[in-house]
């Protein structure tokens, strides 16, 4: 059941990611647990998601690689901080566990869930949606290559088809 989350963490390790920032979300449970248990990983819980964007820009200034993990609602908290990414051409990898899309049962999640892709694209991100567990490893490898070799900003959207819709 959680194999795709193991695939995801393994790819991050292959690409020498050493900083993980997050506001906790169930969709990132394995990533968070693995990062906390990994002595080579700085596992950084945030008070708001935008801190993670600034933190990873700082990591790049210091020659390190990182990933920001958040729920779709967190993208809304990040928008102005994305100016740093777009204006400064910082490489940026954002993992978004989606709410407010396929089969959502909580109407409060819908507005931001539906706005994730247009907002990220407006701020210069390439977005990749992943719907199936067997696609996670390949999509993560593609995303890491674009970010860490081509210097792009990429949002990987872990959809509710992949992680399951919540009825609350």
């Amino acid at each position: 059941m959680t194999d795709w989350q193991e695939d995801l963490y393994r790819v991050l390790k292959e690409f020498d990611v050493s900083q993980v920032s997050y506001v906790p979300d169930a969709g990132h449970r394995v990533l968070i647990d693995r990062s906390l248990a990994d002595p080579e990983m700085h596992s950084v819980p945030l008070t708001t998601e935008e801190e993670g964007i600034a933190m990873l820009a700082g990591a790049h200034l210091g020659g390190a690689r990182g990933v920001a993990a958040m729920q779709s609602s967190g993208i809304g908290n990040c928008v102005n901080m994305f100016s740093l990414v777009k204006n400064g051409l910082f490489p940026m990898l954002v993992l978004v566990s989606m709410r407010g899309d396929f089969g959502e049962g909580n109407p409060w999640q819908m507005p931001m869930g539906q706005a994730v892709e247009p907002v990220m694209e407006a701020m210069g991100f390439v977005t990749l949606r992943i719907d199936r567990p067997e696609d996670v490893e390949g999509a993560m490898r593609a995303a890491c290559t674009m970010v860490f070799r081509s210097g792009q900003a990429v949002g990987v959207l872990l959809t509710q088809k992949l992680i399951g819709a919540k009825a609350f």
Binding site: S18, Q19, H42, V44, P45, L46, T47, T48, E50, E51, G52, I53, A54, M55, L56, A57, G58, A59, H60, L61, G62, G63, A64, G66, N80, M81, S83, L84, N87, G88, L89, F90
Partner: protein, 208 residues
């Protein structure tokens, strides 16, 4: 100065700082080349550029208000071999004051934060900030759990606070209370963030 702006009635007005930032900031920082520096926007960007130029051991923001402390955290975790200083203002820090909590739980020994507190939003017409209206950012840093904190109001306190920033074996925070009547140094700098990033990396990362 806008005396009319007074949010609420429950808070005590704080006496404004009296230090001149153009003297107090360089005295607190010491040799700027000892640090990798992340500066907030506006006043502290000018303070920092004036101290560091023509060297490129600093990255100063001109936007993304509220990001400086977190940027310093990522840099400090990436560069355990160097001391990192975040030099930011009261308004910038207030926008993401939760960053102090994030720093505290990581407690990197090479991360120091200096907040140049003039109690005002200097870029937008010197409206009072919350720190003129009773909010104590040093107390908030202590409350967040940052282990080494000082509030500096007099010149005689600067030396000890500077040592704290350099020698603390955990994260440190100094609130430098300066007068709003003397602004930051006038210095022209590029606002190109990509250029600043590339310049910083070229100057501070080993080749290869």
């Amino acid at each position: 100065m806008n005396e009319a702006f007074r949010a609420g009635t429950a808070v005590e007005m704080s006496p404004v700082g009296t230090l001149d930032r153009r003297e107090a900031v360089p005295a607190l920082v010491g040799n700027p080349q000892d640090w990798l520096i992340v500066a907030g926007l506006a006043g502290t960007a000018r303070d920092t550029a004036a101290m560091c130029e023509p060297e490129a051991n600093y990255f100063a923001c001109a936007g993304v208000m509220g990001g400086a402390v977190a940027m310093g955290l990522g840099l400090a975790l990436a560069r355990p071999d160097r001391r990192v200083l975040v030099l930011t203002g009261d308004g910038e820090l207030l926008m993401n004051v939760g960053s102090l909590a994030t720093v505290a739980i990581l407690n990197p020994p090479n991360l120091s934060i200096a907040c140049v507190d003039n109690g005002h939003y200097g870029e937008t017409g010197y409206q009072k900030s919350h720190t003129s209206l009773g909010v104590d950012l040093a107390a908030m840093a202590s409350g967040a759990g940052i282990p080494a904190v000082r509030s500096v109001s007099e010149a005689g306190e600067i030396e000890e606070a500077g040592r704290l920033l350099r020698e603390a074996n955990g994260a440190s925070f100094v609130l430098l209370r300066v007068t709003p009547d003397a602004g930051p140094p006038a210095i022209r700098r590029s606002l190109d963030a990509a250029l600043a990033k590339d310049r910083f990396r070229a100057a501070t990362l080993a080749a290869g």
